[in-house]
Symmetry: C2
Subunit: 388 residues, 2 copies
């Protein structure tokens, strides 16, 4: 059965004075309104959330949401795949419809994090890594620095300073896109010098290479394609969706700059969609750190090993380039509320494919999302395309 | 597509000197061995777990498990539906196969809890309730006492002392069954007087009315029925599976002794199975507290409102009765490691339907599991039947 997306919504991303449940409700009700349905039409409700228990001392957020929006007695479930929870939610929601278990499934991803100290949020996030690495203090930002060092010194033959500037250009481009996205956390233009002058986080990477801590929620509504026109004439088709894992101990990988799970997940997704990567017009990638954008472009086959940085250096991934990447602003500038991110990626493609992306609109009939958990430990990808 | 179960396993339940990841690995490898497959045959791996982050400070348990058992690059996801996480995992694993996303899915449920203080584990579990109730100290055990009071005084017209004894008989029966289950936490015979003399937890209920705190893990292997014989001649068919929610604020329900989500979920499940409740030969119910067993029997339609206690009083639910309930020993005596419980219920039915249940074997070709989150806030049910 082919599955369609017929509604989308997201809250403002940034520092929000609200509990996670309130953010989830805001995105959920926005999405239902977008599709012109009410909560009691739902057969199933999935919530992508990594750590409401650790972050707010609240579990049962799915039951609470079903109650708050009036979705009873719809089936409810929380989906967790650490920072790839949103993408895993897309796969779960797709399965609920494709299996025949549900004719109308709402997926809501969200996280509330900015009330925590950086030490606390970094520690919870680091607890997703393998204990053998966690015990040595290797947090996610540290993985970024270690991998960037390896990328500059080993993976690529190019001048390290030029590659370093290209990584900064990823952040600059994503900030530039976010300025055109009213929901994005950052609305501030930056330049390469700003990135290279920002404080060191994990050498050679600096503060502006990294995504911020963010509160926010995003939602999508799924149904069988056969009934999609009941909700909207401009539905979006889920042409493919899949996921894959890589070794949980990052230092056991032959090359930490090769995103093997991205390659595997995308291969499965494109096979399901019966498409080639060259058929994809726009990408929403997981730029938790600037380096991850070129690494994903390499794993997806857009560039040879060690050459992905050139797409940013040459401006190919800007809104006006041949392969726009992260028109939303990405994790770097739209923000990264863990469980919301993968959902927000698909919300952006929904807007782009329907021609509703305003000042950041690109020309696209097909897009791909890539949501990464840990440092490539687990990945979900989806291919969305213009429906009718 | 019809889905089959072709392998099952569970660890010893009780106090285990192991991390949750070790328990998950033990059940997972046992299940793979039971079906004669290796981890690299898996397309997908689901873990049902409520709170590894709160209980052990560890997230990412699914990636860790995929790594530990060698399941890479299988898709991985954690399923959380509080104390119904195991049942939700069955629904998720079923959807993964029924949607065509996976041809072989391993589901592993597990939780590690006994290292915590009772105050800490009770607080984490209580955090799944609505804040308006949680803030007043209404924990899950307290809900049991409040509902039992309402049941004795309002729901039933019978002599309260006789009904109270019948609730004790539920615990006695489940202990008696557990003595025949070598994996069960309690191997100790008790009688009605033991229950009625045990310390008060939430009047009128006492310590022996409640399930214990438990460590443990259980696993099931799912594939399309069309290929089930490749793994075993005695496969078990998932005839139906579904879930439903009730109001998250328990005191907003018209009657806290009516398990509405159980009724709704079972109706959907039986409709999918194209069966009537009278076609079910054996039940694994969610006896977090003794009262819940008769309440579920009423919601399932085996008894009128306020009459479910009579089945225990009359011995109808014993191993030799016409409707055996919780042959495994149930949550009360097999134990209740949150995320494992719903999976363990189906593991018991798998053994019963294959005639492998030893001293606790009942005569059954079809069974039903009922896994409850919160105090009936969310429910998943499944109907399993002899395959070939």
């Amino acid at each position: 059965m082919t599955v369609a997306v017929v509604g989308a919504s997201m809250t403002d991303f940034g520092e929000r004075d609200a509990f996670v449940g309130e953010l989830l409700s805001e995105a959920a009700t926005g999405c239902l309104a977008d599709a012109g349905v009410t909560a009691d039409d739902l057969d199933a409700l999935y919530v992508s959330n990594m750590a409401s228990g650790e972050f707010e001392g609240t579990t049962g957020v799915v039951n609470a949401l079903a109650h708050d929006i009036g979705a009873l007695p719809a089936y409810t479930q929380r989906v967790d795949q650490t920072s790839a929870s949103g993408g895993a939610g897309i796969f779960a929601a797709w399965q609920s419809v494709a299996s025949g278990a549900s004719d109308l499934t709402l997926l809501v991803g969200g996280e509330k994090m900015t009330h925590l100290s950086t030490a606390r949020s970094a520690d919870v996030i680091a607890s997703l890594t393998h204990p053998v690495e966690y015990a040595h203090g290797v947090t996610l930002p540290a993985f970024g620095g270690l991998a960037a060092r390896a990328y500059l010194e080993t993976t690529t033959d190019a001048d390290p300073a030029r590659v370093r500037e290209a990584l900064a250009a990823v952040a600059v481009k994503n900030h530039d896109n976010a300025r055109r996205n009213p929901r994005a956390q950052f609305q501030k233009e930056i330049d390469v010098a700003d990135v290279l002058d920002s404080p060191v986080v994990a050498d050679p990477l600096r503060l502006y290479d990294y995504c911020p801590v963010t509160d926010g929620s995003a939602a999508l509504l799924f149904c069988p394609e056969s009934v999609a026109r009941e909700y909207t004439d401009d539905y979006v088709r889920v042409a493919g969706v899949a996921g894959a894992t890589d070794t949980h101990v990052v230092h056991e990988r032959a090359d930490p700059t090769w995103m093997g799970a991205v390659a595997e997940s995308a291969e499965r997704t494109l096979e399901m969609a019966d498409r080639h990567i060259a058929d994809v017009d726009v990408l929403e990638l997981h730029d938790m750190v600037s380096l991850l954008e070129p690494l994903q472009l390499e794993a997806l086959g857009y560039a040879d090993r060690g050459e992905g940085w050139r797409l940013a250096a040459d401006g190919e991934t800007t809104l006006s380039g041949p392969l726009p990447v992260n028109p939303s602003g990405g994790l770097k500038a739209r923000g990264h509320p863990l469980g919301a991110t993968g959902v927000a990626q698909a919300v952006e493609l929904y807007r782009q494919l329907r021609g509703e992306a305003g000042d950041r609109q690109v020309d696209a009939r097909r897009g791909l999302t890539c949501n990464v958990g840990g440092f490539g430990n687990c990945v979900t990808t989806s291919v969305l395309e213009v429906g009718p």
